[in-house]
């Protein structure tokens, strides 16, 4: 049996082909669900499994499904394959290596909320993956695993891919819905939440690719089995995308609750060039910086423990930063990312990212003084809790935590200007 639950293609060659996937038990979970489990029981099963959304927020998946009202139809399911967070590259590996498990999961979710149409929203750069998925969807229809009257029941389902075109914000679920509807990818005011007023104003469930890929084994083995992995509050396995200053970057599938030290030093092979680890970003560019001391390195990577370090697990995109990196330089990178990706709808984010960009540019160019460091901090603090969606909040995380925890890095650059003067 594969040692993986999600990245099974790594020890099962050819798993991206339908016949190989079926030989390895593929679509038995879907058959079991559609022919033998009522939608209500399926939602309960996923609730009991404790599965939490793998896109970043960690919201309980079964609970999310249960919010769909049963008196408004049709329902839609959308797979969020917009994977765009700097440092995240897990959904891409799933869709390239183990695409049918993802599609089977999407079909299980669709059955659970009785959706007859589901959309896969892929970032525009995943052009080739979208074309490959289109072929696989056609194969499933030919094989009678997708389409009308699945497994002889009354349940029918169609899957469609929808390609974005280069906008990070479309990973935010309400912006994603706007984008499918053919509008600018700008977040909606909530409530109402998508579970009630979603795609085409109908009840909609939006789940991340990795979340959906977890579903076939949960249906196959049951909720108690799923809880054998991970921690009580964060059950299951997670794919950790490891990047930055690290000897062996890549995706690692591990039980939630694995400590940072094991991922970074044992599996990732530690820091190149004999350098020391300085900081960790746990949720990609959206992270608060974690000072990589012993306490942090021994902290379990799960939804409940990472917040004790003043950060979030997010999508588990672990960026490792070594002691050659100046944190002000790093902040400049993240701020400009968010400045570029701000959708422009709300003022705090649009203006805030713009001005943070200007100030941090001056600091990094050693054309600023210590007051500018405080100004940068003040702008970031004024944005917090005032943005329409999480993007604006995220843009402040590295700035505020960077100045709180690594102020000397900023002062070093400011000092350089003083000396030059």
């Amino acid at each position: 049996m594969s040692q993986y639950l999600l990245l099974r293609h790594r020890d099962t060659p050819g798993l991206e082909k339908l016949d190989v996937y079926r030989k390895n038990g593929g679509f038995e979970a879907l058959r079991k669900a559609v022919t033998g489990i009522t939608p209500a029981d399926l939602i309960q099963l996923v609730k009991d499994s404790g599965l939490r959304g793998r896109g970043g927020a960690g919201f309980p998946t079964g609970l999310k499904w249960s919010f769909c009202p049963t008196n408004i139809w049709p329902h839609y399911v959308v797979a969020n394959a917009d994977e765009s967070e700097p440092g995240t590259f897990k959904d891409r590996e799933i869709m390239e290596g183990n695409p049918f498990q993802f599609l089977e999961g999407l079909m299980i979710a669709s059955y659970a909320v009785q959706a007859n149409h589901a959309y896969i929203y892929l970032r525009g750069e995943f052009w080739r993956i979208a074309r490959a998925l289109d072929e696989k969807i056609a194969e499933l229809e030919q094989a009678g695993l997708l389409g009308d009257k699945l497994f002889g029941t009354d349940y029918s389902l169609r899957l469609h891919t929808h390609l974005g075109a280069g906008a990070y914000i479309c990973g935010e679920e309400s912006a994603l819905l706007e984008s499918i509807e053919g509008k600018l990818g700008q977040p909606r005011l909530r409530p109402p939440f998508p579970a009630v007023v979603g795609l085409f104003a109908k009840p909609t469930v939006i789940n991340n690719v990795e979340t959906l890929t977890n579903l076939p084994p949960i249906v196959e083995h049951g909720s108690a089995w799923h809880r054998e992995f991970g921690t009580e509050k964060s059950p299951g396995v997670k794919i950790f995308s490891l990047s930055g200053c690290i000897n062996r970057p890549g995706n690692y599938e591990l039980p939630l609750g694995t400590p940072y030290r094991e991922l970074i030093f044992k599996l990732g092979g530690g820091i190149p060039g004999g350098r020391q680890i300085k900081a960790i970003m746990s949720a990609g560019a959206s992270s608060a910086l974690i000072k990589a001391d012993d306490r942090a390195l021994d902290t379990p990577m799960d939804y409940e423990s990472v917040p004790t370090l003043g950060a979030q697990l997010g999508s588990a995109s672990i960026i490792v930063i070594d002691d050659s990196v100046n944190i002000a330089w790093l902040t400049r990178k993240t701020v400009h990312f968010f400045e570029h990706e701000s959708c422009g709808k709300c003022t705090p984010c649009r203006e805030g990212t713009y001005w943070m960009g200007h100030i941090v540019d001056r600091i990094v160019a050693s054309q600023a003084d210590e007051n500018d460091v405080d100004l940068l901090y003040a702008v970031a603090r004024q944005m917090q809790n005032r943005c329409l969606c999480a993007l604006g909040e995220f843009s402040t995380e590295a700035v505020v935590s960077g100045i709180d925890k690594f102020r000397p890095d900023y002062l070093e650059l400011v000092q350089t200007m003083k000396e030059a003067a």
């Binding site: 525009g124 390609l163 075109a165 509807e181 053919g182 990047s243």
Partner: protein, 173 residues
Amino acid sequence: MNELLARYPDEIARILAQYPPDQKRAAVMPLLHLAQRDNDYISAQSMQDIAEICGISPTEVDSIIGFYTLFYDKPRGRYHIQVCTDLPCALRGADQFLADLCERTGLKVGEPSSDGLFVIDEVKCIAACDRAPVFQVQTGDDIAFHENQTVETALAVLDELRKKTSRGKEAQL
């Protein structure tokens, strides 16, 4: 006369069938991808055509093009080389890679080569952080990732694209 519809009637029907009949606007991005595949960029005529198919104004179509970075309303280099310089890639030398690539090719970021074949740009994270330095090559009908690059391997990729283009031209003659 709707030129796009006249050229791709079946494909456009397939695209529209993906969405509820009263939600034609949802087809706007797939149609923009189609128009760009057809012509490398989206012309004013295509904007008109798409607006007509979706039942929205050309201005609304134009605003979509402006919002999404992969859509272009004017011709660019035939091969759009986009180097990721976001944080994880930068920690693995992407900024230096971009500078070296520009120096070796004599190109400036954002300025097409004199033969109109290439333009080198920076791009935001493309989900390949573990294999940096990395760039994608966007053409009208494809986006190809090139990972674990050095300047030498990148120059070889550009060379191959140049050869492919001249072979294509000979085939046309």
